[in-house]
């Protein structure tokens, strides 16, 4: 099973400038953990110390918000997960 994971541009410094990757997992949480296995430095960019998703990240599953309970949302082969940073101002 292959899921496409696309990171917000602001996060790619945590993954050696890799913005898109194929990952495996049955839920969004498993897919993010798969990315962390490949890029351990991405962990603090995704998760709070207790393992919850960082407050100011939004997760889109096939273009739609996965909120609430994002990490437990089921995914299937061919899905696209996009991680978006919430930010304002300038």
């Amino acid at each position: 099973m292959s899921i496409k994971l696309i990171l917000d541009p602001i996060l790619d410094h945590l993954t050696g400038n890799t913005r898109e990757m194929e990952v495996e997992g049955a839920t969004i949480g498993e897919c993010l953990n798969a990315a962390v296995s490949r890029f351990p430095s991405a962990r603090p960019g995704f998760f709070q110390p207790g393992g919850e998703l960082i407050d100011y990240l939004n997760v889109l599953l096939n273009g739609k918000s996965a909120f609430p309970d994002e990490l437990n949302k089921k995914v299937k082969d061919g899905d696209e997960i996009r991680i978006v940073l919430i930010v304002g101002g300038g």
């Binding site: 541009p9 960019g45 100011y56 909120f67 978006v84 930010v87 304002g88 101002g89």
Partner: protein
């Protein structure tokens, strides 16, 4: 006194008189300093109905109790006056190290009255304060002004706050500059400084700031630095500064393009931090006490656009780039250099030029109107010629010098091109598919007109715990993560506005301390504040102070005649549209509901006027009785 210097200056320019006064306890404890202290002075002392560019306006410069200490990113200063754009409040907040120098010289605030009969500058060297003849620097740009004053005063360590030719000519789309490239002043406060014949404030300070509990303070400071530097975004922000937003906002459909006619810009890749860094960045540059140093010196060697300057950021790139349809980064950097030297505000000036370019697009302007300049989108070379004409009020430049709303009065049929709230141009963001509605609500309600800095910026980290306490964990997450739902947005914005008032009154950096990167909670800030000043305050106490300041500013705005009908958005934002790239704008009824939600959270009535019980709760009982009658 600890934290504060304990002294203010009142400068009577008409008479050439300077009075030193102790900083009052009320001002320290209820308004802190910076923006809070300045707004309080303006509300109490400005006479209603005066001309913003006349001698009766008051110009304030304020710093806070943490400036000049080791508190992280405590480098900011605030300038304020009655607005020359909308008759309400004008203020600006900038960085560098001017605020530190002013504290070292021993002052918390300067209040300028009247109008000098001839151009002057204020020279402060610790206790020595005098008004001096500015004829040598009047008519000069900010670079030369800095150099000439340092030479005249034989003081290489001098720190200078000044206006360029734009401010001298009372151009309303101008800014006040420190450290040559650190700017502040939405609403024409630089023009107010110019109207007073005040060219500059030159400061040398050799003192220090006393700390109530130095050992504990420095331990807490170390912890705060550690938190900021441990952020997973620390390295990214240090490397890219706010320029990372170009890519970010393009992806969110919110990059303001061609005078906010779109949220995507096809040339965005040429303007990213990577493009800048690869071609033009020279080395890092930071403000005082900042662990991030997000700015860069830069150099463009191409002789056509040659420039050596610093602090290229989102706030200089979007208004001179996508907003004007320009994807030529060397030209944008060159224009930034021109703006910094002439003292033109990249936001207000760029946005006003964008308005003129949309007029051109619609055939409302021709070569005959523009003195031969072709204002087609993307024509950087024409804008390079136009900028000095705005600063010197020459020909068509004079038409644009007072901002887009006043320009529209001179260009028949151009109202359709206006993108303003209360006369102030919408800056920084298009209300595109990924942008949180709270930003739009912030534009509509901010106390100085459309304001991208008082609509959600500080909330994602600094305010997130308070947001969860108020709306519950799920409610808080929902309002953040459902950007295009109105749920919880009133609380979201209200909290953010209190925090922004607090940050600008302490004069600490919203990006480094409050945004995603620092994320210090109000309680952590309160601990540092208490250890520095010896005034024990909790996070809630400080937020109440922020709220009090915001209400004072709201009353300044009400006194200018603004009511609920003015808390609105430009027509193209106030309609929901489905586009091939996602929805844009907000439905008007939904916006009205969101506005009511916000007023209720703030304790204001249907028309946006603070209720008497709100003012009493905030320790403003006198205003509760008298002000409402007046309002």
């Amino acid at each position: 006194m600890n934290g504060w210097a304990g002294q203010i200056l009142r400068v009577y320019l008409t008479e050439g008189k300077i009075v030193k006064e102790p900083l009052s306890e009320e001002m320290r404890l209820k308004y802190i300093g910076g923006r809070g202290a300045n707004s309080k002075v303006l509300f109490d002392e400005l006479k209603p109905g005066i001309d913003a560019l006349g001698p009766e306006n008051i110009f304030c410069v304020g710093v806070g109790p943490l400036n000049g200490t080791a508190f992280p990113a405590s480098s900011r200063w605030t300038v304020s006056s009655k607005s020359a754009v909308n008759e309400g409040l004008s203020d600006g907040n900038g960085g560098g190290d001017f605020s530190t120098e002013l504290k070292f010289a021993g002052y918390d605030q300067m209040i300028f009255y009247g109008r000098s009969p001839k151009p002057v500058y204020l020279y402060i060297n610790d206790k020595h304060v005098e008004l001096r003849d500015a004829s040598k620097v009047w008519g000069k740009g900010t670079h030369q002004t800095n150099a000439l004053l340092a030479q005249e005063l034989r003081e290489p360590e001098l720190r200078v706050m000044c206006i360029g030719q734009a401010g001298e000519n009372q151009v309303r789309v101008s800014k006040i500059m420190t450290n040559i490239t650190r700017a502040g002043g939405k609403g024409g406060v630089s023009a107010v400084m110019g109207s007073k014949n005040l060219k500059a404030i030159a400061v040398r300070g050799t003192g220090s700031v006393k700390i109530a509990k130095p050992k504990e303070f420095h331990q807490a400071v170390k912890k705060a630095y550690g938190k900021i530097m441990a952020s997973p975004f620390y390295n990214m922000f240090r490397q890219e500064g706010s320029l990372f937003l170009i890519k970010r906002y393009h992806e969110l459909g919110s990059l303001p393009t061609r005078n906010l006619q779109a949220g995507y810009f096809e040339g965005w890749e040429k303007l990213t931090s990577e493009a800048f860094e690869k071609q033009f960045a020279v080395k890092h540059k930071g403000c005082s006490a900042c662990p991030i140093s997000c700015a860069h010196y830069f150099q463009v060697k191409d002789p056509k656009y040659g420039v050596y300057s610093e602090s290229n950021e989102y706030g200089t790139t979007y208004p001179l780039g996508p907003k004007l349809g320009i994807d030529n980064l060397p030209a944008i950097l060159h224009m930034q250099g021109i703006c910094d030297d002439l003292g033109l505000d990249t936001h207000a000036c760029g946005n006003t030029v964008a308005f003129a370019m949309e007029c051109w697009q619609r055939g409302l302007l021709t070569l005959k109107d523009t003195d031969g300049l072709d204002l087609s989108w993307g024509n950087a070379d024409a804008i390079i010629k136009l900028l000095p004409r705005i600063a010197y009020r020459q020909g068509f430049g004079d038409v644009l010098a007072d901002g887009s709303e006043k320009s529209a009065q001179k260009i028949p049929g151009s109202q359709i091109c206006l993108k303003t709230v209360k006369g102030v141009e919408v800056s920084a963001l298009f209300l595109g598919k990924g942008m949180n509605f709270v930003q739009g609500l912030g534009y509509a309600t901010a106390t100085r007109g459309a304001d991208h800095l008082r609509g959600g910026v500080q909330m994602y980290a600094t305010g997130s715990r308070r947001l969860k306490e108020t709306l519950g964990v799920e409610g808080a997450a929902a309002t953040i993560k459902n950007p295009r739902s109105i749920e919880g947005k009133g609380v979201f914005l209200g909290l953010d506005q209190k925090i922004s008032a607090l940050f600008n009154s302490l004069n600490i950096c919203a990006w480094a301390v409050g945004g995603l990167f620092g994320g210090l909670e109000p309680d952590e800030i309160a601990e540092l504040y208490s250890l520095a000043t010896g005034e024990n305050s909790s996070g809630d106490d400080l937020l109440t102070t922020g709220e009090r300041i915001y209400n004072i500013e709201k009353m300044i705005q009400l006194r200018a005649g603004f009511r609920r009908k003015d808390d609105t958005l430009p027509p193209n934002f106030l309609k929901m549209e489905e586009t091939p790239r996602g929805p844009t704008g907000i439905d008007k009824t939904e916006f009205d509901n969101m506005l009511s939600q916000y007023y209720e959270y703030m304790g204001w009535d249907y028309d946006g006027i603070p209720k008497a019980e709100t003012l009493v709760r905030l320790g403003l009982p006198d205003y509760a009785a008298g002000y409402r009658k007046h309002a």
